[in-house]
Amino acid sequence: MGVLSNLFTAIRGGAREAGEAVVDANAVRIFEQEIVDAKNHIKKAKDSLTTVMAEKMQSARKLDAIKNDITENELYATKALDQGNEALAIEVAEKIASLEGGLAEQQHIHDNCAAHIEKLKAQIQGAERQISENERQLNMIKTTESVHKATSAISDNFMSSGSKIINAKESLERIKKRQQMREDKLKAAQALNSDDYDQSLQNKLKEAGIMESSSSNANAVLERLKAKK
């Protein structure tokens, strides 16, 4: 998108001389550095992602432990109540209440971790997409650059070769004339090869007895030789 239109501007603009760079080499280096930096960022983000994921697992384990604790104590409290031991039941209930406080706190940590993980994952995905986009654009810049160099070299060579003296219409005429000549030659050669035509005519003449066949010619020669004796 942006890069391509920039490239067009660059090509249309100043850098039309052969050998002149289309793209500022320094700009390309900066662009490449940006890609390297972005990759480093991703690496760091992945490191913290690993840490946060570990924290979340830890916190999940703690949550489970507290929940188990609560269930266990609820059982104790019920049993104490069953035994009519109100005082003990209250004591256990207080412990449960405090456990529940810890549970809420741990749940909060767990939720925070989960949110953080989502955020990091989104960041990494975004950065990875950005990098591949940057790399695609960098590729395009480099290709444009090398194509420009190549076409400039070709163009220089073409200009200096004197081909410019002849215009396209003349070139076309010459080529066509040559092609026509080649076709004519081909036809002539074919016509030469097609002695078949003469052959068939001769055959007809021989059949009709108008022309002597070669065997009768041989006989004539033999007769002549015999006569000479």
Binding site: R16, G19, T143, S146, A150, F158, A168, K169, R174, I175
Partner: protein, 134 residues
Amino acid sequence: MNLQDLGLYLTDASLEGYKFECQLVPGEVEVLQVVIEGFQEIPVYISVTDTQILCITYLFSEDEVNPESKSQMTEQMLEMNIPMPLTSFASIQGRYVVFGALSINSRFEDVAHEVVTLGENSVDALSVMAEYLK
């Protein structure tokens, strides 16, 4: 793809009844000029970049085009682009060209085929475009 080797290959080769005459032009970017027998006026120029092998033939310059029929001509070029196999129209520094781009891993035979196709297509393209020229 080594252009010198390609030049040697083409000089020895004969493809579809055509013979080639090659000349390597040294420089920052090497260019191989290939003249196809019978098409001396429209040589094919080959150069190699990081990503592709470019084969280019110059058709005519912008000055040769009738100004009033230029847009019609470019329209026609766009329409011919796809039906014309292995060859596309482009414009380089004020000149209309046809070109073919090949993978850097192409074989010599592929390049030779491209060169012949480009030569034949150039003549066709010139015949069609002649009506737009001065």
